[in-house]
């Protein structure tokens, strides 16, 4: 199937000589949730801004829903909705007018029923006649989403959608994003909250210093790069690591009551059995054991600092 967004050899050098993007190649599939992760200043917002037409590319090609974003900019942009990072709103407009304005701007005839639905979905219906300046930060954030959805886009960009949003609202937004995906909308989100990507994304791209260093299915990424950890709570304190265990990647906790064994989740798992057997042979007894997988956050930190 044709990708919804296709980026080929995209580069961006700003007027002051700063190279924000270096030869980016990326394809985003129809109907997926794609999370773009990267530290501050990595180029996430520049990449989104170029696709949406706010920043000019220095080199390369981008298509959205099959349309070139420069030659066929009208058709390309009609398919895109953008929720930018900053809460940029017209303070004096009412919620209803602001959302209707966005729909008109994107070339769509008025459709009050759709605007009503969007406002209701985002719990803004009661505020429709309020001026934007009277809204709270969370409501303004939802208003930005309502504006982006006003023209029924096929592709939705969410640039740091939950920055500065409380936990409950963040859960609501995740729910909304999932619903949009169920309706076939392709979603690209950038985020600092790895938890967010872990929770929602189908695929994950990591960008660092203007380069895409990795694009993977989330699940594959977790297994491929994920580490597993086995923790054994000991019955009796160990003063030092027994010599028989030094060959294994095992650590003894500071208080001497815990052994921590780290292993790659992809490796054959004979190590665990071997460790437990050795412990049995040594007469070291344990009262409990846990295993856990490393989170995306740890994978991410590992990648970015490589």
């Amino acid at each position: 199937m044709q990708p919804d967004i296709s980026v080929k050899h995209l580069s961006k050098v700003y007027g002051d000589g700063f190279q924000a993007l270096k030869d980016i190649n990326l394809e985003i599939r129809r109907g997926e949730i794609f999370a773009l992760l990267g530290p501050n200043g990595a180029g996430k917002t520049t990449l989104i801004s170029i696709i949406c037409g706010i920043v000019n590319a220095s080199a390369g090609e981008v298509t959205a829903a099959g349309y070139d974003i420069v030659k066929d900019y009208r058709k390309a942009r009609e398919t895109i909705g953008l929720v930018p990072q900053e809460l940029n709103t017209d303070s004096f407009e009412t919620v209803w007018n602001a959302v209707s304005f966005s729909r008109g701007l994107f070339g769509k005839p008025p459709k009050p029923a759709h605007i009503e639905k969007v406002l209701k979905d985002l719990s803004l219906w009661d505020k429709r006649n309020n001026r934007i300046m009277s809204l709270s930060g969370g409501m303004k954030r939802r208003l930005m989403i309502a504006k982006a959805l006003s023209h029924e886009p096929q592709i939705l960009f969410l640039d740091e959608p939950t920055a500065g949003v409380d936990v409950e609202l963040r859960r609501d937004m995740w729910e909304m994003v999932r619903k949009l995906r169920e309706h076939g909308v392709t979603i690209i989100l950038t985020t600092h909250y790895i938890e967010e990507a872990e929770e929602m994304a189908d695929r994950i791209g990591v960008i660092r210093d203007g380069e895409i260093i990795l694009v993977e299915d989330k699940a594959q990424l977790m297994t491929k790069l994920g580490k597993k950890e086995l923790r054994l709570q000991l019955q009796q304190k160990l003063d030092k690591m027994p010599g028989e265990l030094t060959l294994e990647p095992v650590e003894l906790s500071e208080d001497g009551y815990e052994l921590i064994y780290t292993f790659d989740s992809q490796q054959e798992q004979a190590g665990v059995a071997r460790l437990l057997r050795t412990l049995g042979d040594l007469g070291i007894e344990y009262r409990d054991l846990q295993t856990r997988e490393s989170s995306l956050e740890e994978i991410f930190v590992g990648l970015v600092h490589e």
Binding site: Y14, G15, C52, G53, I54, V55, N56, Y73, R74, K75, A76, R77, E78, I80, L82, P84, E86, N88, T89, D90, S91, F92, E93, N97, S100, F101, S102, R103, G104, L105, F106, G107, K108, P109, K147
Partner: protein
């Protein structure tokens, strides 16, 4: 053509005018009325006629031009500067609208406001001074043409400005002196010859002269030259805007 897009921008800007009616309509009307009272009725009654026209009536075209120029520039420059300042410009830049459509929306609304304002001032003037319009068609044409031209000029200023101070500099420091020295309150013939020549470099002279001709049939320069110069300035503004959007100047990095 994205007609819904043009309409959205146009309506948005007109709604802004309704919200700021005190500032954008009432205040210029009041200040023009003060000119009529002071220069038209009070001082004007002691002044001799110019070109056989009572002084109070003589200054009407110039005063209307003054408001038209100032308001066109201020409306259009604010219209495009505010989204840049607040950051909402992202939406216009990411929308499927061409630059011609963006300009039609913003400049169209600014020019509409100026035209409405010009007509209100003309109607108000009737309360203070008696005047006739000899060539109504040309009067309206100048009104519309000047509003559009200076709204385009204001749009350019709004793009160029990177602070509120710059928005004010051009209308206050350049346009006001040009209008005052452009024959609003006197005929260019009344100046010493050297200053008459200098005045011909002031573009506003042609606007006021042409506009006054439409009212009373008298002018400092030939009407064809007035129309020609107005069109030259209109074209210059259009080229400026074309360049802005072509290069992305202060809009798209």
């Amino acid at each position: 053509m994205n007609l819904y897009g043009i309409r959205a921008i146009y309506n948005f800007e007109m709604a802004r005018m309704k919200r700021t009616v005190m500032q954008s309509v009432l205040s210029p009307v009041i200040s023009t009325c003060l000119y009529f009272v002071v220069f038209g009725s009070a001082i004007g009654s002691r002044m001799g006629d110019i070109d056989n026209i009572a002084y109070g009536a003589y200054i009407i075209p110039g005063l209307v031009m003054l408001s038209l120029l100032m308001q066109s520039i201020s409306n259009a420059s604010f219209g495009i500067y505010m989204p840049k300042f607040s950051g909402t410009i992202y939406e216009v830049l990411s929308a499927p609208v061409s630059y011609v459509e963006v300009v039609l929306g913003y400049v169209g609304a600014a020019a509409t406001k100026s035209i409405i304002l010009g007509l209100i001032i003309l109607a108000t003037a009737k309360f203070f001074v008696d005047y006739d319009v000899l060539h109504p068609f040309w009067m309206l044409s100048f009104l519309v043409l000047t509003s559009i031209t200076f709204s385009l000029f204001g749009f350019i200023i709004g793009i160029w400005a990177d602070g509120f101070e710059k928005l004010q500099i051009v209308p206050m420091m350049i346009v006001t002196p040009l209008v005052f020295l452009g024959g609003t309150f006197y005929s260019i013939d009344m100046l010493p010859e050297i200053w008459q020549t200098v005045s011909l470099f002031n573009p506003v002279v042609y606007l006021i002269s042409g506009f006054r001709w439409a009212f009373y049939g008298v002018s400092d320069v030939h009407i064809a030259i007035s129309v020609g110069m107005t069109l030259v300035f209109l074209t210059a503004c259009m080229v400026g805007i074309w360049w802005i959007f072509k290069t992305g100047y202060r809009l798209r990095s």
